[in-house]
Assembly symmetry: C2
Homo-oligomer: 402 residues x 2
């Protein structure tokens, strides 16, 4: 083990925001304040953009009250960035870190951020500069390797489950077919979490389509017809990333929709939901068909927070700082202990083990018909999402007709 | 005043669900249980559809725990209906009411429901049948005449405000133009409530477009450009019902979007948001432009409830029952006392005063540029929506560049 070095710390946030990404940020800052090796604590604005532009704020100047309020506020308080740095950028970043005497570097984000940290870490080694490099996992997509689940997923999943709870009740009141498009381009975890909305036997979502299985339009229409015959209604959760057996996105394959300028729209729009709704209207006799695309609400809605997720996000941040005083680099992964009781621990894993490739829903979480999740998924997700609202329902004793 | 008559009671729900429509239902049932004149308490399933089909459930058989849980659950627990009865239907409904010895009739809904109750009431008078007929106001659109505001609005408005709070933070982290399409075809109250999301001076929504003012695409593009130049980003709340100076819906006027079957899609879709986003992309240099359509989430999301709205909804239901023991018919309106302190009272107004026409945002609530609300609206809406989450923000003391 290398000797710890005294120096400044830099922390930044990257990628899509999450409802608890600031818990990790504040968790790391609070922990850093406990260690005399860590001198100044800088926050870079908008991830690597702020590092390259030397746009730092002084985290030691923030009051305890502000830190607490920010921790409980969704979306990246330091700003974020979508930029994946080039190898040249990484060299530049490293130069900036040296200039500001930063020996502790923390980057909160997904697999691309882990990759960035990995490259910077290698760069430091080459230059024989003592730099502790840590990745703090964050993604509502829940698709980081080595992690049982990732900070951000539990809260976004709670939003999706609650949204489906409400939407199922709406659909029960005014029956028809309702399609809800959920985030998750390659991993279906967030869409799968819609299953947690079910309380009563006839509750939706009645069908769940994930990007892990090829989507077949004929099968989809047949599935909806079948559910509609049984319940007189049908609520569907579908991942924005559903694709056919060749990996082509359904939105691109079937949509003839063009905007007023001739562009085919795919993401950040309601196009997929609208297209699936149109298909049901065209291929069935069902008259009331609606689609909603949850969009950015699911990653930044305030106050809809999983208590477990919130706590773990803070601990992942704090653990990264603790580990940085012991080992040169790593990504803090959430591991789950086997057994019925939900228990997790945090482990520093190599950056390369989390960088680049992501993970997908395991087969045991998806039913054989590829239109629902399994009990194994429910058991997995429930403790991460935590408590959901109580949904009341009348016993509904029928009055005898006269 | 007519003598009160002993008899059964029937209650039903109509139109789009709301987060607190069951508070009104349970409020009425709890009150009814206190009065010996009211014998059986029936709930009709799916509004007038259930009345015509004699599909009733026995509300006295529901436990206190169930009633409490249902009251706190969004969406119409008795089911709803979009059907506006014909005069012939009203005659049939009246026949059913007589057959079941119903002398107390309550219908929870918007202006169409008030109209239905009014016709049935007239029918009863003609037949000299003692029927107490009451309308219990409900609409997230907040567009019922005689009402300072309507049950359901406060909670839906809270959802919209919270959604914009989160979306503003998302947009601050990853800047660009973000368009959020909010419900409200003819009245802009719900879209206007997005203004409550603002906490800090640069917070969005930066622009708000309401159906009460003609929407001009050139002005819209110019507005967005101006805000983007100032803040480097722009969050916009727009009502789904925006129309041009001739009253033509913008979605219909500008959209060349057709689904795979050649239909132009207007409502229950993401079309309007996508079209506005495409316009900004085409007419400006701004690269990151996204649109979300909040859809049904805003009327049925569980646990996002305004405490004031919830309490008032229950009281409107209870007041209707109380009044039914005193006067033959009416609609229970929420009136606000003048003065700084928020205080309301409930008044039975004639059914005809609420039926048919709806109301719109008054001029004093809309700014002269027709792209924002005024302080008068904020003062009006704040106590109805109630407490919103605390949003933390760093002081952001810049570190001197080296």
């Amino acid at each position: 083990m290398k000797q710890t070095v005294a120096g400044n710390m830099l922390i930044a946030q990257s990628g899509g925001p999450s409802p608890v990404i600031n818990q990790s940020l504040v968790g790391a800052i609070m922990e850093a304040k406990k260690h005399k090796e860590i001198k100044n604590i800088y926050g870079a604005m908008h991830g690597i953009k702020g590092i390259l532009g030397e746009d730092f704020i002084d985290m030691r100047k923030e009051s305890a009250a502000t830190l607490k309020a920010v921790a409980n506020t969704p979306s990246s308080a330091l700003g974020s960035v979508r930029k994946k740095p080039s190898p040249e950028d990484c060299v530049k970043i490293f130069t900036v870190l040296k200039k500001y005497e930063i020996h502790y570097f923390f980057y909160i984000g997904g697999n691309d951020s882990a990759e960035t940290v990995h490259i910077i870490s290698e760069e430091a080694k080459k230059s024989n500069f003592e730099l502790r490099c840590f990745h703090i996992a964050k993604t509502i997509d829940n698709d980081l390797r080595e992690n049982d689940h990732t900070p951000g997923f539990g809260s976004a999943a709670k939003f999706v489950a609650m949204a489906l709870m409400g939407d199922n009740l709406d659909n029960r009141a005014l029956p028809g077919v309702k399609i809800d498009v959920v985030m998750g381009r390659h991993a279906g975890f967030l869409t799968a979490a819609s299953a947690l909305a079910r309380v009563y036997p006839d509750d939706g979502p009645h069908l769940i389509y994930l990007p892990e299985r090829p989507f077949n339009m004929e099968k989809f229409v047949a599935d909806v017809k079948k559910v509609n015959e049984k319940y007189g209604r049908c609520v569907i959760a579908v991942s924005e990333g559903i694709s056919d057996e060749n990996g082509q996105a359904i939105a691109a394959k079937f949509s003839k929709e063009v905007d007023s300028h001739g562009n085919v729209q795919l993401s950040g729009t309601g196009a997929l939901g609208d297209l699936l709704a149109a298909e049901i209207k065209a291929k069935t006799e069902i008259k009331r068909v609606r689609a909603d695309t949850f969009g950015y609400l699911q990653r930044c809605f305030p106050a809809i927070i999983s208590a477990t997720d919130s706590k773990e996000a803070a601990l992942v941040g704090a653990t990264a700082v603790k580990q940085s005083l012991k080992i040169p680099s790593g990504s803090i992964a959430i591991k789950r202990k086997p057994g019925k009781k939900y228990q997790v621990y945090f482990e520093a894993v190599p950056l390369s083990a989390v960088a680049k490739e992501t993970k997908h829903m395991p087969d045991e979480f998806i039913n054989s018909e590829a239109n629902d999740v399994t009990k194994a998924f429910i058991d997995y997700a429930k403790p991460i999402v935590g408590e959901l609202p109580v949904i009341g329902k009348f016993a509904g004793k029928k009055v005898n007709k006269k």
